[in-house]
Symmetry: C2
Subunit: 230 residues, 2 copies
Amino acid sequence: MNAPTPLPLGHSKAPSATRGVADRLRQAIISMEFPPGTRLSEGEIATRYDVSRQPVREALISLSRIGLVQVLPQRGTIVTRISTRHMMQVRIAREALESAIVQRACERFDPVIRGSIDAILETQARAACEGDYMTITAADSQFHAALATGADCEMIWQMVLDVKAHMDRVRHLTLQDRDSMRILVEQHRAIVDAIDQRDPEKADHAMRHHLMEILRDLPRVLAERADYFE
Amino acid sequence: MNAPTPLPLGHSKAPSATRGVADRLRQAIISMEFPPGTRLSEGEIATRYDVSRQPVREALISLSRIGLVQVLPQRGTIVTRISTRHMMQVRIAREALESAIVQRACERFDPVIRGSIDAILETQARAACEGDYMTITAADSQFHAALATGADCEMIWQMVLDVKAHMDRVRHLTLQDRDSMRILVEQHRAIVDAIDQRDPEKADHAMRHHLMEILRDLPRVLAERADYFE
DNA sequence: CCTCTTGATCTACCATACAAGTCCATACTA
DNA sequence: TAGTATGGACTTGTATGGTAGATCAAGAGG
């Protein structure tokens, strides 16, 4: 235990059962296949995904750390209900983190990644015209990830991913029309422009404005689906 | 699985074996009992703490999510080495989050918690005069936690705790003299003053100034203990 | 009608056994 | 000697059985 051996690290992209279950569960929760309040059971999920209970259990531990599920000892596991108080903090946290990312991006930004962003935005713009929801959201995630990576903030992006999961879940409830999709792309362009101009204040403002809009329709959903909230 | 039963939640303060191992391991890593690069083994830790491998394994999963350990599939688990690049991102993230907390505190702050802060600062000031390192750090954690709680940002505080672990580990390497301890208390007072005056800009500046100092001695440690870094 | 007890039935938790991949020292081969 | 198999001693990953605690419904007693 005490030997500080080198143990060279070959990076881990292990497609383990635990990770597989975690990813599938995470996606199922975000996409509302398992709506808030759904009662999960280690055994049932194990049967459904054809694995043992142990990987399921470990996946649930990861998800409970993010806050997507609540594990109640000896009682059960439920998909976390949406709380406006919690969502408020989620928004604040993501704004703070992503604002910090773009501000750092104004100081230094990997030119190679900068080049790839144009392609992402173009893909997203085309998808917006066609109303392709899946491509839109995928490109959105790629865009924000590229910002973080280009600014050398990959670890911060991991933190953003956790809070992002909560926002993605409510976004699934607010159906997006094509106009708001086009606005989304415009906002992305504004962020990139600010970074190109090395204007931290402008970038900060553009990012916060962009993120603010995501939870705009939260009150309406609250009225329609009160059972999803706590 | 699909029944959205109420399942009333009695808050979980479960003193499970997993949590116990996780807390002890976390403390051992932060306090440098297990220095960076230490090779951990599920089996050895299980024997040492007199539990089965499973709780140890689940504890390591939690710690790996924080980034305190690295689990290399089929190869081993090591205490994460300190990386200046990673610490830079840690600092940025914590500054962003805690800055957001104090700015929100300027908008609204629980008066009861505001009252308790004075006692915390007084305790810390006394400990600073006596050079009581343990009490200082405990009060420091209480202070920042009180800020978050009073500003209704408890969930954000959980995120801060994760990045804070990395900074606490570095701080354990930089021995603190009594002068820097007194400065610490002064900086805390400045933050509270800014909140009392409802001055977000001042609070933001005070918090960032406070956090900046923690990693001031990082380069010196890097020179002294290169084996702790990657 | 209300309160309490009891037992069946769930749950997550933990321990143990097994499987599979990695590393390394040793021995064998060219 | 240098290079290459090879087998054993690790490691983490997965499966399964058993245990304690929580819930709830039915029934006894007031």
